[in-house]
Amino acid sequence: MGEPAIEVLGLRKSFDKKDAVAGIDLEIAAGSLAGLVGPNGAGKTTSLSMMTGLLRPDAGRCVINGHDVWANPSAAKAVIGVVPAEARLFERLSGEEVLEYAGRLHGLPAAEARKRAAQLLDVLDLTADAKRLVADYSTGMRKKAALGCALIHNPPVLFLDEPLEGVDPISADVIRRLLKRLVGTGSTVLFSSHVMELVEQVCDHVSVIDKGKIVATGTTDEVRGGKTLQQAFIDLVGPRSTDEEGLSWLGSSSN
């Protein structure tokens, strides 16, 4: 295993006395494409928010490429790109304006930001819609625009929260290839998802989070232990409900 690009130690966060993240430790090697999987409400988004400096943890630390996110946020933010679960974009900017704005906020010269924005829009198949307002974009287009914004300053570490939620299969394939290409150049990607097939296909490292705790972590093969990742995941977190007795009326034959 190489040097860790992401190192999380004892990260903890509570909301109204309820532990959203109950002290997690994580180590992702540089050049990994890592998945953070868990059921709804497991703490994935809260963990990623704390790792990216958007949510102050109650305890613990997170180090990205040697920079402590909370002790030295400027240095840490310079080396990360973030794609939140709900694309938080400026609705009244056009697609190309929002990418250029992201580049300039990260200190790129305007001309370079424009050049990269045009290239990213092309790769993400958004060129035809580049001059439309983000407010008029579909969910998938917004995801792709958010990914472009996160990539424009060429961050060595990329965090994505549910990156393929609401994205059509063609666009999903584009995003998958883009992430693999990024990792191929030595960058590190950590993304959260509850789509096991996707994680199984693309990730070389998987961590399973449930009720705010990491219940399994390692290479994808280690975590699934000879089963499908879906089955391994269900075995780890347990099925949520099996009682379907009360639904005897449901189904065509019951009419």
Partner: protein
């Protein structure tokens, strides 16, 4: 179906009441206002009895209620599920069932009841003899006309109102409504007090209004009271015909609206190729984004228009009244600057979740200074000519241009103080915002009323205190030649204002440096 939809409406109200204390307070305030409106309208209409122009004034009041029914649902659309036909589209309902149900649901509530009871004041103010019976029928038909008109317009505009452009339109409507409201509560009472407006002013207005539906209702009462029963019946018949035509149009538009629920927003293309201010780093980037928003965000445009309305209203008494107090233009400048600042004092909440986008790049004190000063550059570039221009116009209107120039100088200093306070409050008292029923402009989220009030009052007080030296200087130099006084006053006020704004940027950056995660949480709790 009518019963089900009425029950749905009552259940929605009941659930809203259970949701929070703020909702209970809001319901109580709304119901109290409706009761007061009913009593006030009844009393007002009853007072018209001895007046020769009572039918003209009744027509005007009936028309005002009809306009209210027309406008209010546009503001509430998207927030009141019972108004949008799309919410019913998935259920196997016939259009006729739906029409009856929606009509019944519309007629239930404090405001429809207040409308009905208030307008019955005509039984005292206008009706005599058999006219009383006609008054009950005419008022019932007037309320029915209002409901059907409101439903027809809303249903016809459903596709538009559901879209971004429709929501933008609703925001723009806030400005004339705000201006009319201010006109009614500030200017009209003063005009009445000074004798500039009296019941006689309305004489003859119904020469054309009598043929509109509210006029038909009012005049049928008058006709029945004066023994012209044939005319009264004919007018009511005409009103019924109008309601039937509107009803048919409503049914047709409802049929169309039910099968056009998936219509997407018509998208617009922008013509600007790249963001401006490329040479100025992060400050230039933030300024460029803020500049784009000032032109494209209807809320930003509405805020600037509201500032202009406030400035004119402050000086209205001197403009329209017989008593001249030119110094009131200075008050306009102070209020204009203060409200410009307080309306922009919560950029994190106003930006909403997109602030997180900026927060992923901003972290140090230097970047935050660039962030605040970038916004201030654009804010100042818009506010300075606006405030100076309005002050000069007001100076002309109060027939004292010198006072207009002095007020403009005060406005420049006030603007600097307003910028400083808006930046400081944006990190000291940030609060999430949300859209609420009855107002298309985003308001502070429930539980944050104190933050919004504190920021507004704090900005007002600080601006008022900060401009005192400029006002004193203006008074001390009032006898100096204008050619010397005005440039010196302008230069000193602008320099002073710039200094205050600069201090505000530095203070906000120092406080904001350690609070970025908390600001992000405020932004993420915002729903625009």
């Amino acid at each position: 179906m009518a019963r089900l939809l009425v029950e749905l409406k009552l259940r929605l109200v009941r659930n809203a009441l259970r949701s929070s204390t703020a909702a209970q307070v809001s319901f109580l305030v709304s119901t109290t206002c409706a009761a007061l409106a009913a009593i006030g309208t009844f009393w007002l209409l009853a007072q018209l009895r001895p007046l020769s122009s009572s039918v003209d004034l009744t027509t005007v009041i009936f028309s005002i209620f009809a306009i209210g029914w027309l406008i209010a649902p546009i503001f509430a659309f998207g927030l009141d599920g019972t108004l949008d036909p799309a919410t019913m589209a998935l259920y196997p309902l016939r259009t006729r069932q739906l029409v009856v149900g929606l009509l019944a649901a519309s007629a239930v509530g404090a405001w429809p009841a207040a409308n009905m009871l208030g307008l019955l004041g005509v039984t005292i103010g206008l009706a005599r003899g058999l006219g009383v019976l006609f008054a009950f029928i005419a008022v019932a038909l007037q309320v029915l006309f209002c409901i059907v008109l409101s439903r027809f317009v809303i249903t016809s505009m459903a596709r538009l109102l559901r879209s971004r452009r429709g929501k933008d339109l609703a925001i723009f409507l806030v400005v004339p409504v705000f201006a009319i409201f201010e006109f009614l509560i500030q200017v009209i009472p003063r005009a009445v007090a000074s004798g500039g407006l009296s019941p006689a002013s309305f004489a003859g207005v119904d020469s054309w209004m009598r043929w509109l539906p509210p006029g038909l209702a009012a005049h049928s009462i008058q006709d029945a009271s004066t023994g012209h029963l044939g005319d009264a019946v004919a007018r009511l018949g005409l009103l019924v015909a109008v309601i039937i035509v509107l009803g048919v149009l409503w049914v047709r538009s409802l049929g169309r609206a039910l099968v056009s629920t998936d219509t997407t927003t018509g998208s617009s293309r922008v013509h600007n190729a790249a963001l401006p201010l490329a040479r100025y780093g992060v400050r230039g980037a933030v300024a460029a984004r803020f500049l784009r928003y000032q032109g494209r965000d209807p809320a930003s445009l509405a805020y600037w228009a509201i500032v202009v309305v406030i400035m004119f209203v402050c000086s209205a008494s001197t403009i329209v009244g017989p008593h001249q107090h030119p110094a009131v233009v200075v008050a306009s400048a102070v209020f204009g600057a203060a409200f410009a600042g307080s309306l922009h004092a919560n950029p994190v909440g106003q930006t909403g979740p997109a602030f997180v986008f900026e927060a992923t790049a901003l972290s140090g004190r230097r970047e935050l200074r660039a962030y605040f000063s970038g916004q201030d550059v654009v804010f100042g570039a818009i506010a300075m000519p606006l405030l100076v221009g309005v002050c000069l116009v007001l100076g002309e209107l109060v027939r004292d241009p010198r006072e207009g120039f002095a007020a403009a100088a005060v406005g420049l200093a006030g603007l600097g103080a307003a910028l400083a306070m808006s930046n400081i409050f944006s990190v000291v008292l940030p609060y999430p915002m949300q859209k609420r029923a009855g107002n298309p402009l985003p308001q502070q989220a429930q539980g944050y009323g104190g933050h919004a009030f504190g920021a507004m009052i704090g900005t007002l007080v600080c601006v008022a205190v900060a401009v005192i030296p400029v006002i004193v200087l203006g008074n001390l130099t009032s006898s100096v030649s204008a050619a010397i006084r005005i440039p010196v006053l302008f230069g000193l006020a602008a320099g002073y204002g710039f200094g205050l704004a600069w201090l505000g940027v530095r203070a906000a950056a120092i406080v904001g440096e350690g609070k970025l995660p908390e600001l992000c949480q405020v932004a993420m709790r915002t729903s625009l």
